[in-house]
């Protein structure tokens, strides 16, 4: 089981902040493909990956990152702190 988190406009488009899913995805990109195949709102939210960032177990990473042993994956738009 993986906890998948969404933030900012991605959270709004998908309609929830967090969900726990059963996935056999080997990489973040595989997980995105699984999610996008679920429902239209996911497909729309993930339609442009260049507009999104991903963190795996709370570390920023790339969409080709492996998911073996991972507990938490978060998707969000580019950050705007400061």
């Amino acid at each position: 089981m993986i906890d998948v988190l969404y933030f900012a406009w991605l959270r709004e488009r998908i309609g929830l902040p967090k969900e726990r899913i059963e996935s056999s995805a080997e990489t973040v990109a595989d997980l995105v493909a699984e999610l996008a195949a679920r429902e239209e709102r996911y497909a729309l939210a993930f339609s442009d990956l260049s507009a999104l960032r991903v963190a795996v177990d709370q570390e920023l990473t790339d969409f080709d990152a492996p998911l073996a042993g991972v507990r938490e994956v978060a998707f969000f738009p580019p950050m705007t702190g400061g």
Partner: protein
Amino acid sequence: MEIRVQQEPFGAGTELDAFTARASGAGAVVSFSGIVRDDSGRMAEMLIEHYPGMTERALEAIAQEAVARWNLADALVIHRFGAMKPGDQIMMVATAARHRKNAFEAAEFLMDYLKSRAPFWKQERSADGASWVAAKQDDEDALKRW
């Protein structure tokens, strides 16, 4: 080193005095405060969302790198989340070093990195509705100089 992610307001002056008092051996302290700016003149509030857990980890890592790279005596990062009004303080950083050059550079490094690498997202709210602030390419480009 102190990292604080909080909803409550803070007083930059009080924080800076306390930071300076404990920065023993430092000859230079530099601080920066970020304020909610209302460019449109119509903003009712700014809402800052964050990723609890990762935010603290990311800020710790950025501050640790600054301390190591510029040989800082100490570093402080305070960043708020939640709802704020124009003119409110969003965040501050402070750095303490033997000489001012290191303190200034480390403070700029901290700001550049926490703008684009710490998981915060700003939303502006006005009578017209809410809109997420888009990340700027300039902010991403600013990381390249480090």
